[in-house]
């Protein structure tokens, strides 16, 4: 029961990470348009956008990769390893 | 489009500070009181710098009125994170009070130190609150403000000119400092108009600008004192 709840929470947190990262990127992109509209020097904005947008995406991707990977490969051993272990499962 | 500029003739300036007083009343600039003033929180959009030249006993004192210089290449607007300060089409460096978040970066970036910050909310005595200029907003605590070349006067002048279907006449739009100067040391007008008074004055050999070497291209010109 508890582990099911925990599992849901984990997936919710992955979703939250992505929402956070994507909204950050959307914000940066929207600032590009603001810069264009206000006739600011667009170079700075583009420079930051080029670096920051993929950066946040990479961080989120790494986290997702780790989280899903760990979840995926924990099941195999859980049955054999935790036989005498915890009462959950 | 006009390009507004100011010429201050130091030959005529007596250092009477009438421009400072006119500016303060015109723009509802907060009066901070003695204690705050001693801390260095006096708020002046128009200030008078006192320059001492030479050593005693041959000291010469000069006065230099200093509004915002409305640079053509202003260092302050680049750093503003929210576009509370920007250069408008007529070359006036705007300070949009309701947009300012009070980071004071523009104050730090201004080489002329013209900007003031509202350290506390202005506290008007009742008698003065009734005398505030309704054309200018009273600023809250926590924002940066500075000389606007009395932009509200330009709005009114433009509106009047539009109603009468004509262009703004020279001298119709004057900031409070220029209007009040008893010796007419401060002239104001359109720098783009070759026939205007200011365009004539800046061709004078006495013309100089403050800190010209840093390349900010101020639109406030000075005429140095002749010996």
């Amino acid at each position: 029961m508890q582990s099911k709840l925990v599992r849901t929470l984990q997936f919710v947190s992955i979703a939250l990470i992505w929402i956070f990262v994507i909204s950050l990127d959307v914000w940066i992109v929207s600032l590009l348009f603001v810069a264009k509209k206000l006739n600011d020097s667009i170079n700075a904005s583009v420079g930051i956008g080029i670096i920051a947008i993929p950066l946040f995406l990479t961080i989120a991707a790494i986290l997702t990769y780790v989280f899903l990977g760990l979840r995926k490969y924990s099941g195999e051993t859980e049955s054999s390893d935790s036989a005498g272990g915890r009462g959950t499962k | 489009m006009a390009k507004w500029g100011m010429v201050i003739d130091l030959n005529k300036c007596t250092g009477c500070a009438e421009c400072v007083a006119a500016c303060k009343t015109e723009n509802n600039i907060a009066i901070v009181g003695k204690e705050q003033s001693e801390m260095g929180r006096t708020m002046l959009w128009m200030d008078i710098l006192t320059l001492y030249e030479g050593k005693y006993p041959d000291v010469k004192v000069r006065y230099l009125p200093r509004p915002c210089l409305h640079c053509d290449n202003p260092p302050c607007i680049k750093v503003c994170p929210v576009r509370a300060t920007y250069k408008n089409e007529e070359g006036i460096i705007a300070q949009v009070f309701p947009q300012c978040i009070g980071c004071r970066y523009c104050m730090a970036a201004c080489p002329y130190t013209v900007k003031c910050f509202n350290w506390t909310a202005p506290d008007w005595p009742d008698e003065m609150a009734a005398a505030l200029n309704p054309d200018v907003s009273a600023r809250p605590a926590g924002i940066v403000e500075k000389c606007t070349f009395c932009i509200h006067r330009l709005q009114k002048a433009k509106e009047q000119a539009a109603v009468e279907k004509r262009d703004i006449r020279p001298g119709e739009y004057l900031p409070a400092c220029a209007e009040s100067c008893p010796t007419r040391a401060i002239s104001f007008g359109d720098l783009d108009d070759p026939k205007s008074e200011v365009s004539g004055l800046i061709r004078s050999p006495r013309m100089f600008r403050l800190l010209e070497e840093i390349g900010t291209e101020p639109k406030v010109y000075y005429l140095s004192e002749s010996e």
């Binding site: - | 705007a94 949009v96 009070f97 309701p98 054309d135 200018v136 606007t148 709005q155």
Partner: protein, 165 residues
């Protein structure tokens, strides 16, 4: 039984609340002014009372002299007119509540919008001539994006300093 009592209690509270709201609405403005009556029956136009609309920054809410031109007879059945007449006789201003308010850091001129911009009153204030009660809330919520939208549509300046000061 209990549930019925609860229901009545609820009803009572609700009606009380409703009553307060209606009462507060009714008394928000000092006089229950009827725009429709004045426009249709008396044949007035906006500028007859709001005399400064075309020439000044503020449109002017009629001061008591304007009302007094017509309402000088205290012999009337209408309670609202009686109020007006008493204001006229006392020569005191009617304490209207400002509803259409522009923030003090923004510059708004009626002349600029009506005379120069050729805007109709209805654009910002709605169909006033059909109103039978005075304004309690503005016809549109006055905020910056609303101003800017209109300025952009009509290709008027959107320079911050055109309005902010």
């Amino acid at each position: 039984m209990v549930s019925r009592r609860k229901f009545y209690l609820f009803l009572f509270v609700f009606l009380l609340f409703l009553g307060i709201v209606v009462w507060a609405q009714k008394n928000f403005q000092p006089v229950q002014y009827n725009h429709k009556l004045h426009v249709e029956d008396a044949g007035l136009s906006c500028t007859d009372c709001h005399v400064n609309v075309e020439t000044h920054e503020r449109a002017s809410i009629p001061n008591i002299a304007v009302c007094g031109d017509c309402h000088d007879d205290p012999e009337t059945d209408n309670a609202e007119i009686k109020k007006v007449v008493s204001y006229v006789q006392e020569e005191s201003r009617i304490p209207w509540q400002t509803v259409h308010r522009v923030r003090d850091y923004a510059y708004f001129s009626h002349r600029r919008h009506v005379t120069l911009g050729q805007l109709e009153c209805e654009t910002c204030h709605g169909n006033v001539s059909a109103r039978e009660l005075p304004f309690e809330k503005p016809y549109v919520e006055i905020n910056m994006s609303w101003c800017i939208d209109c300025h952009e549509q009509r290709a008027v300046t959107t320079d911050c300093y055109a309005c902010h000061r």
